[in-house]
Structures are given as structure tokens and as C-alpha cells.
């Protein structure tokens, strides 16, 4: 989680660039964007580790419920997945608006991405509460610990993403965002899409393949 917080700082470093200057770099790409990609490369190993832990403990359910079609609420999780995919679309539209310098649509799409993200997070809170009521506590079994750790890590990533989005949105409202800083939006977007593809993976491997 802490890394994600730090990359937040990265993403916003774009604020600091002198307006309008695009600095000469060896790759032709800005340091901030390159740093974000480097960071995302590292995140693959993080989620890989959590997913492997989950796969290792998938059937180790002790006395508690296990991963099965009747336990997971597939219709609801599918709706959640749609919400997150939709937020990816609004995110990319926000970036596109930022590149055109279209402040109005930038604000609209940023806010709607954050709102859709919040719907996803509320869905996760809902789902966790239902699971706990159904008897799957954090300490119930290695499966439950691994499941909550993996989806919880993802949820924390989403939440951090929403905070980044809202901060960007408020900065835009306050006029702190220079029109030339579309890159900040792009970098927040990279993070957001990454969180989305992690969910694409989790949804398939944990829910649908159960």
C-alpha cells in the first residue's frame, strides 16, 4: 500500500514541472510517466504473490464456506466488474479531454470515474459484509485469509486511486491544474487502468473459475 501512496506523489509530480516545458530526455518520455510504468512493472509481482497465495489455499477451507458458485454472488460481482470497466472508459475519456485542454469534460469524467470507483468500493464492502454474515471470517481458514487479503489489497488500491482522482478533480476545480498538465491525468489514469486489469484477472480466476 505504501508504494501506491508514493506513486501518488509521483503522479502529482507533474504539477511541479514548469508549465509548458517538455524536457529533453533520452527516451523522449517524461520522467514521471516512465516512473509510473516502472512502478506498475513492480506491482505485477505484488499482485502475483497475492494471487498465488490465494491459489495455494483455495481449497483449504477448514470449517468455513469455500469458493463455489453458490457462495460467490456471481451476478453482483459481474455488475461490479462492469462498473469498474465503465470507470476505465470514463478515465480514458478524462485523459482524452485533458489532452484537448477541455477543462469542462475533464472535470465531468474525472468526477464520474471517482464516483464509479466509489460504487465499486461500496460493492466490495457489501460483499465482505455478506460473506462475514455467512460465516467466512478473516480467521476462518487459510482460504478466507487469502481471499480477503487479495481482494482487500485490490480494494485499497482502488480507494487510493479514488483519492488520487478526487484530489486531481479538486485541483482542477481550484484552477491549480495547468492545461498543459494533461500528463498528471494520464499518469493517474495508468494507475487506474492497472487496478482495472488486476480486477479483470481476479474476477476470472477467483470468481468465474470457482
Amino acid at each position: 500500500m505504501a508504494e501506491a501512496v508514493l506513486d501518488h506523489a509521483d503522479a502529482h509530480d507533474a504539477h511541479d514541472a514548469h508549465e509548458g516545458h517538455v524536457h529533453k530526455t533520452n527516451t523522449g518520455m517524461s520522467n514521471n510517466k516512465l516512473a509510473m510504468w516502472v512502478f506498475l512493472g513492480s506491482e505485477c509481482l505484488l499482485f502475483g504473490g497475492l494471487i498465488s497465495t490465494y491459489l495455494l489455499y483455495r481449497h483449504n477451507i477448514q470449517d468455513g464456506p469455500g469458493p463455489s458458485e453458490e457462495f460467490f454472488d456471481i451476478p453482483f460481482t459481474s455488475a461490479s466488474s462492469f462498473v469498474l470497466l465503465m470507470s476505465s472508459l470514463t478515465m480514458v475519456l478524462a485523459h482524452s479531454a485533458a489532452e484537448r485542454g477541455d477543462q469542462k469534460r475533464l472535470k465531468i469524467w474525472l468526477l464520474s470515474t471517482a464516483l464509479l470507483g466509489s460504487v465499486f468500493v461500496s460493492g466490495q464492502i457489501y460483499e465482505f459484509t455478506v460473506f462475514v454474515r455467512e460465516g467466512l471470517g478473516w480467521s476462518t481458514s487459510p482460504f478466507s485469509s487469502a481471499f480477503y487479503a487479495l481482494t482487500g489489497f485490490h480494494g485499497v488500491h482502488v480507494t487510493i486511486g479514488i483519492i488520487m482522482l478526487l484530489s486531481t478533480f479538486i485541483s482542477t476545480l481550484r484552477g491549480r491544474m495547468h492545461p498543459g498538465n494533461a500528463e498528471t491525468v494520464e499518469i493517474v489514469g495508468l494507475y487506474w487502468h492497472f487496478v482495472d486489469i488486476v480486477w479483470v484477472f481476479i474476477f476470472t480466476v477467483i470468481y468465474l473459475a470457482a
Binding site: 510517466k33 512493472g41 504473490g49 483455495r58 482524452s96 485542454g101 486489469i197 473459475a209
Partner: protein, 116 residues
């Protein structure tokens, strides 16, 4: 809104100052919507597929294939990997391949595939 007038004045200068971005010919907003529709359709098919009763050696590979297509579409189009420099793709793919490699070896060493 004062920002908007400001925007209108500066937009030209801004896009002119960032030449690297326009050369790549980003897809349009409509293009993004089209990709989203494809993604949504694949997700719907995935969900329906998960209710179809087929043996797991058919079920799992097709499910994973659909997942990979979605994964690729988001990474290539929404994250612009297709349009950005190769280095970004290399960094990301290195992370993915390393993760896939070491964790698959680890899981194989732990003999978890028997449970599938």
C-alpha cells in the same frame, strides 16, 4: 468560469507544445467507447460461459483466453501501450513475465494443479 476562457485561449499553444502526443494518432473518444463495448460484451460472455456446464479442460482455457483478450485491450488501448514507446511495453511485460514465471514455478512445486 474564468478557467474556461483561459482554456480556450491556451489550448492551441498547449497542443502545439506537446508534439510527441499528436504524432501517434490516438484513437478518438468514439474509438474508446467501441473498445469499451467490446470489453463489456466479452465480460458478459465470460459470465454466461461460467454457467455453461462443460468439462474443466474446455472451460478454463476459453475463460482464460477471454480474460487475456480483455487484459490486452485495456493495456494496449486504454493504457496506450500500443501507441507509446516500446520501452513501456518492455517494462510492463518484463514484470508480467517474471511474475508469471516465478509464481507458476512456485505453484507447480507446491503441486496445486492436481486440484483443478
Amino acid at each position: 468560469m474564468s478557467e474556461e476562457t483561459l482554456t480556450a485561449e491556451t489550448t492551441k499553444g498547449v497542443s502545439g507544445g506537446r508534439p510527441t502526443h499528436d504524432e501517434h494518432g490516438h484513437i478518438t473518444d468514439f474509438g474508446y467507447v467501441k473498445i469499451f463495448v467490446i470489453l463489456a460484451v466479452i465480460t458478459a460472455v465470460e459470465v454466461v460461459w461460467s454457467y455453461v456446464n462443460v468439462p474443466s479442460y474446455v472451460f478454463i482455457p476459453i475463460l482464460f483466453l477471454m480474460m487475456l483478450v480483455k487484459f490486452y485491450l485495456v493495456a494496449a488501448e486504454f493504457m496506450h501501450l500500443k501507441y507509446d514507446i516500446k520501452l513501456f511495453s518492455m517494462l510492463f511485460v518484463t514484470g508480467l513475465v517474471l511474475a508469471g514465471g516465478v509464481y507458476l514455478i512456485f505453484l507447480s512445486a507446491s503441486q496445486i494443479w492436481q486440484s483443478f
